[in-house]
Subunit: 420 residues, 2 copies
């Protein structure tokens, strides 16, 4: 029979693991930031910050304050007082805090899927005569689906890399498929399944040597794994703001277009907010100069509010410290899994080298689908990705080592549950 009342996580945590977690928490220079987040009643361990970041207390105040102080008070006047510039102002902030991107190259708009479509279409349009797109079979479904659609409508072919799941997409994988036929290469910086970090500088060079453009998906990097888009000479990037940027469910995406490319690319969804003069109401579309062209519709002002609080917190803590804690947390998960979960048949499916590992650890076990359902009822929240992966996502500023230790203790308990 399945245990439905939550077991006592503290009591079930192996004493050695609990002590080690307590010591790591005591030495954690970022520990004080955990109090900035809204408490979650009944929560034992939130291990899915890589899917949906937790809300900050400041966000609660920001949302209700927004209704009174801006929406109700300034009404449409607020468009001239900040809302119109929010996509680029917030884009610049994301660029500065997490992307290594100078101003004027990043914009917040649309869903990740729509932004991927727009930038991928713009890229293939800028390489006429080239009829191939390179992607990998382990990338997130929406990335693959968007490219399938574009390839079909443009009469192009997708060259699929089939990466070794344990190593992710390598420089050699890319070098083996790019050619003078390649228009675009789309890859994830941090793999959504394994958390493998691809070699952005080297792969970007290989793509450029072939005369193609590269589009990096930063969904599982932004806010946890610092990148240096400008220094790497990256052409295009997209990313998600509701994971490690805590923008709330379905918060809009960001898109990056390197400054020197902006005048050479045209995105397909021509809207008034990407026009040179949105309120001129002119007869024909004239794209705005710079990054603004990549906006289509009215900026999603309400949806852009929560991420501001996390961006401020990340800037306060510093991305180097955030990355250091992310590594410490993933190391701790691997250490605990080896010691306490391996005997139950659990395998670590993420890289063991922290230098090529993002901010989650994927564990594998044939019973993880059922175990995850049980854990959710117990207040331990990882997520499950078919066929057998449990992702332990570690959002550095909101996660403690003790929380992780207790969560993993209940993972073991779930695997021992007769109903699983």
């Amino acid at each position: 029979m399945t245990t439905t009342t939550a077991p006592d996580a503290a009591a079930l945590t192996p004493p050695g693991l609990a002590e080690r977690a307590a010591a790591l928490d005591a030495a954690d220079p970022l520990a004080r930031y955990r109090d900035r987040f809204v408490p979650s009643p009944g929560l034992v361990a939130y291990l899915d910050g890589n899917s949906l970041g937790r809300p900050l207390r400041a966000t609660r105040e920001r949302l209700s304050g927004f209704v009174d102080d801006l929406w109700a008070s300034r009404l449409i006047r607020a468009w001239d007082e900040g809302w119109m510039d929010a996509p680029t102002e917030l884009g610049d902030t994301i660029g500065r805090v997490t992307l290594g991107a100078g101003p004027g190259q990043t914009v917040v708009a649309d869903s990740t899927t729509v932004m991927l479509y727009k930038l991928a279409r713009a890229a293939v349009g800028a390489r006429p005569g080239r009829d191939e797109i390179v992607a990998d079979t382990e990338n997130f479904p929406t990335d693959r689906f968007v490219l399938e659609g574009i390839a079909a409508e443009r009469g192009m072919t997708i060259r699929w890399i089939e990466p070794d799941p344990a190593r992710g997409v390598t420089v050699d994988d890319v070098a083996g498929v790019v050619s003078e036929r390649t228009a675009l290469v789309l890859l994830s910086h941090v793999a959504f399944k394994s958390a493998f970090i691809a070699d952005m500088p080297a792969i970007t060079r290989v793509v450029h040597d072939a005369g193609a453009l590269v589009l990096w998906d930063l969904c599982h990097a932004a806010g946890a794994v610092p990148v240096e888009l400008d220094a790497c000479g990256v052409d295009l990037a997209v990313g998600c703001t509701y994971k490690f940027l805590n923008g709330g469910p379905g918060a809009p995406a960001f898109g990056y277009v390197a400054r020197e490319l902006q005048g050479h690319l045209r995105q397909p969804v021509q809207g008034w907010m990407g026009a040179a003069e949105p309120f001129a109401m002119g007869p024909a579309y004239e794209p705005a100069a710079g990054i603004r062209q990549f906006i289509s519709g009215t900026p999603p002002v309400v949806g852009m509010l929560p991420m501001r609080d996390m961006l401020a917190l990340l800037e306060e803590a510093g991305m180097a410290a955030v990355r250091a804690k992310s590594i410490a947390l993933t190391e701790f998960v691997i250490e605990a899994a080896d010691q306490h979960l391996a005997p139950l048949g659990v395998r670590v499916a993420s890289p063991r080298d922290a230098a090529v590992r993002g901010s989650h650890v994927t564990l594998e076990h044939p019973a993880f689908r059922e175990a995850t359902a049980l854990l959710w009822r117990w207040g331990v929240i990882p997520d499950f990705r078919p066929p057998a992966g449990m992702r332990i996502g570690l959002s550095p500023l909101s996660t403690s080592f003790t929380e992780v230790a207790r969560g993993l203790a209940l993972v073991a308990e779930a695997l021992r549950d007769p109903g699983v």
Copy 2:
């Protein structure tokens, strides 16, 4: 010298107009709903509900409650507990309350611009061999810009109707351009400049007789002018939720696809949320059955919150009563303009027949650009549309006749201002 402190609007309102407004307010069966909206300090008259609806008090509570009770408490579990279905559940509500659309045909997603792109692309793809799109030069810029882009990428031609601004697009205008070459006709139901209401049933028939598809832009109708999409046999529609549906700045759009067409259309932005099984993470895109295919990315959950309150209020008040008050308000504006603004050179540019007039009245005067800037500082908020139009937008549930009378009194005062 320009007067920068707000004049006394009550004192400046002509006594006859003030009395008439007071009588109309006293007899208004919807007057009690005004108290449901968040007060705006310093506001004399909000005359732009057709651009951005005011927030409801309930929305303030909903937003902060959302952070604690759903986002922080349920975390990713909430995706299975309602968030995933929000686009179609909310779409069904919009369909029922304002569109005359049965369930399973309306979805909330994206910006209006992106939704227009997706549905227009789907439509032209469903009419292979036809190489013309019909549109009108008076339509909103984003509608025209989206079509320009699609025509360029598909090698199609746009046949532009140049409507008489005083009458809008007529059945004869459409009949004169559609042919066996027409794939799609895109028109606004309520014209954004003049508020002219196009004849949806008759135009839809003419388009169908030519074998083409019709896409109606309902941005200036939804929530103020009831439509009957199912009864009219409309193929496709898009609309805005931040105007008369009070969804907050940049709230996501809605899209309608008639049930019998859904299996025959394919939209171009293929994303995981429009796939048959989003979490199967399968190798190739397989579109979901029904309206869900028209979703691309992750639902913008936070941005979808505020519109729920206005939809509930509209359902409580009833769209017939809302339309009746909308007509009474626009009649009152025309009556007041004829009496008090015409002597200052102001012309009514909207239809005088209420049956073909939406929920705003456009007035014209060469000095309205400067007058609008001054009025905004005085707490009277219409908007300005080039070259000389001031739109007086009347959101029936949040606007009183007295507010309108005072606002128009200050319009007259602004025109008398030596700085204007």
